[in-house]
């Protein structure tokens, strides 16, 4: 039987995102230089959420982009072609601090692809990484700057992030498959 346990509920998702937003504020003195880029597809809604929390703290809007990294993956020859969603970068990334946002950090390969994909748009001043869940098992030297929750996982487990905008409720499950 597949097991299914809640690791973050609606309240803790909100609390964790608020804490990440405050950590972003603490790390970045120049608020006007910060832009958020959500990695398709799990990071996009989270980047928008973080953007509105940061707007509340800083008192001004924070640009939010969307980045699909499917064309930059290193395993395209192994898997069926991934669904490519629009990349939207409505600001100039040159000289900015770009905070990449993703839902789950695992092997680090998606982040690696995102760093490459970002390069096509220019040269950010610096890039930081924010993730809702870090489940370990890194295969590349990549370390997040902001983590919602660290979760010890096994290879046969899966993190299932569901958000209000797409699934009707905020909840993160750990599934055994």
């Amino acid at each position: 039987m597949a097991e299914h346990s809640v690791i973050l509920n609606a309240q803790t998702v909100h609390r964790v995102l608020t804490r990440i937003a405050h950590e972003i504020v603490e790390r970045n003195e120049r608020s006007d230089a910060v832009a958020l880029v959500g990695i398709q597809k799990g990071g996009v809604l989270l980047a928008e959420r973080l953007g509105s929390i940061l707007q509340g703290i800083w008192g001004h809007g924070v640009p939010v982009g969307k980045l699909d990294v499917g064309t930059h993956r290193d395993d395209l020859h192994e898997h069926a072609a991934p669904l490519i969603l629009p990349t939207v970068m409505p600001f100039d990334i040159n000289g900015r601090t770009v905070v990449l946002v993703d839902d789950v950090l695992y092997s680090g390969r998606t982040t690696r692809a995102a760093l490459d994909a970002l390069n096509d748009f220019g040269r950010p001043r610096r890039v930081q990484l924010a993730v809702l869940v870090d489940r370990g098992h890194r295969e590349l030297p990549i370390k997040p700057d902001f983590v919602g929750k660290n979760v010890e996982t096994k290879a046969n487990e899966r993190i299932d992030v569901r958000l209000k905008e797409s699934h009707g409720e905020d909840v993160v499950y750990l599934d055994q498959i």
């Binding site: 064309t71 930059h72 898997h79 069926a80 991934p82 969603l85 629009p86 990349t87 695992y106 490459d116």
Partner: protein, 320 residues
């Protein structure tokens, strides 16, 4: 253009025709093309998806725009591209298509894009080549990427295809563009009307769900989209209508006819245009003509197709 509801995974190694594609597969190509169109609008118009792959353009029949479109699509995906045309090849020296293709495969080609005057040539190659085969037009049979880009353009301009009245006007009999478009439009829920000289628009098309009429004014009056076809002189074995002048009088999209179309009609043409024959020159350039957008979208759709057929055999899993 809402995203595909249930995720469809592309499992085809080849793109041979539209007839065998499902509605969902066509929509997946559209979705993917939408993302790739944006790549062409960036300062760096290139992604590394096909890095290290070799794409061969095997064009046994003359073509400029389709070949260039496929070539640029492959280059924008970072593939290496070889162009191979019949005039400069050993086919002139008597080599068979099979031997030519096998020789190209011996160069470790990953994707072979073929245009050929014989129906079924891409299907034939797909039976023995290890790489992927993409049909860039086979005889009067199919031209799948043209139909995919035409429906993509309609979707982009109209927001939907379901329920639209689409009139295909001209030489349907000899047109692979028409056949592929008919399949795609019917699968996506459009009402398809075919019109042209009776010698070039056979009634048999009614059996697959098209409406056939020989009255051009009636065919274009309620149309949301008019897709004009060139007279395929090179494929007609005998004269199918008395003269070009008579064709223009009876079926050409003149200014007078255009004035009676719906104010939001889209005018499409796969090119090359014969100005003053199937379409009046001013109409071809008017604001409702999307001929050049079709060219731009063709590039995005061909990138999408190359990207999709390049996918590997494993499940479509996203590692984080």
């Amino acid at each position: 253009m809402s995203p595909v509801e249930t995720p469809v995974v592309w499992k085809r190694k080849h793109l041979l025709d539209v007839q065998s594609l499902s509605r969902e597969e066509i929509q997946l190509v559209h979705e993917t093309a939408r993302a790739f169109k944006a790549v062409g609008e960036r300062a760096i118009k290139k992604v590394p998806a096909l890095r290290g792959k070799t794409v061969i353009n095997l064009f046994i029949e003359p073509s400029t725009r389709t070949r260039i479109s496929f070539e640029l699509a492959a280059l924008r995906l970072t593939a290496d591209v070889i162009n191979f045309t019949a005039e400069a090849s050993s086919l002139k020296k008597g080599e068979t298509l099979k031997d030519t293709a096998r020789n190209l495969e011996a160069l470790n080609a990953d994707i072979i894009i073929i245009r050929h005057s014989a129906t079924g040539a891409p299907h034939f190659l797909s039976r023995f080549l290890r790489g992927s085969v993409v049909n860039a037009g086979d005889g009067a049979h199919e031209h799948p990427t043209q139909a995919l880009l035409d429906t993509f353009t309609i979707l982009e301009k109209k927001g939907r295809i379901q329920g639209l009245n689409v009139t295909i006007l001209g030489d349907v009999l000899y047109s692979r563009v028409a056949r592929s478009n008919i399949w795609a439009l019917l699968k996506l829920g459009a009402h398809v009307t075919l019109c042209g000289p009776s010698t070039l628009v056979p009634r048999e098309f009614e059996q697959i769900g098209c409406r056939v009429t020989y009255d051009v004014d009636e065919a274009i009056e309620e149309a949301d989209v008019i897709n004009l076809l060139r007279i395929q002189h090179e494929r007609q074995r005998k004269t199918m209508f008395p003269s070009i002048g008579e064709y223009t009088n009876l079926f050409g999209l003149s200014r007078a006819r255009f004035a009676r179309t719906r104010p939001d009609v889209l005018i499409m043409h796969p090119g090359p245009i014969n100005r003053g024959v199937e379409i009046n020159s001013d109409v071809a350039d008017c604001e409702r003509s999307v001929v050049l957008e079709q060219v731009t979208n063709g590039l995005a759709v061909r990138m999408a197709v190359l990207f999709l057929v390049n996918g590997g055999p494993g499940p479509q899993e996203i590692a984080s």
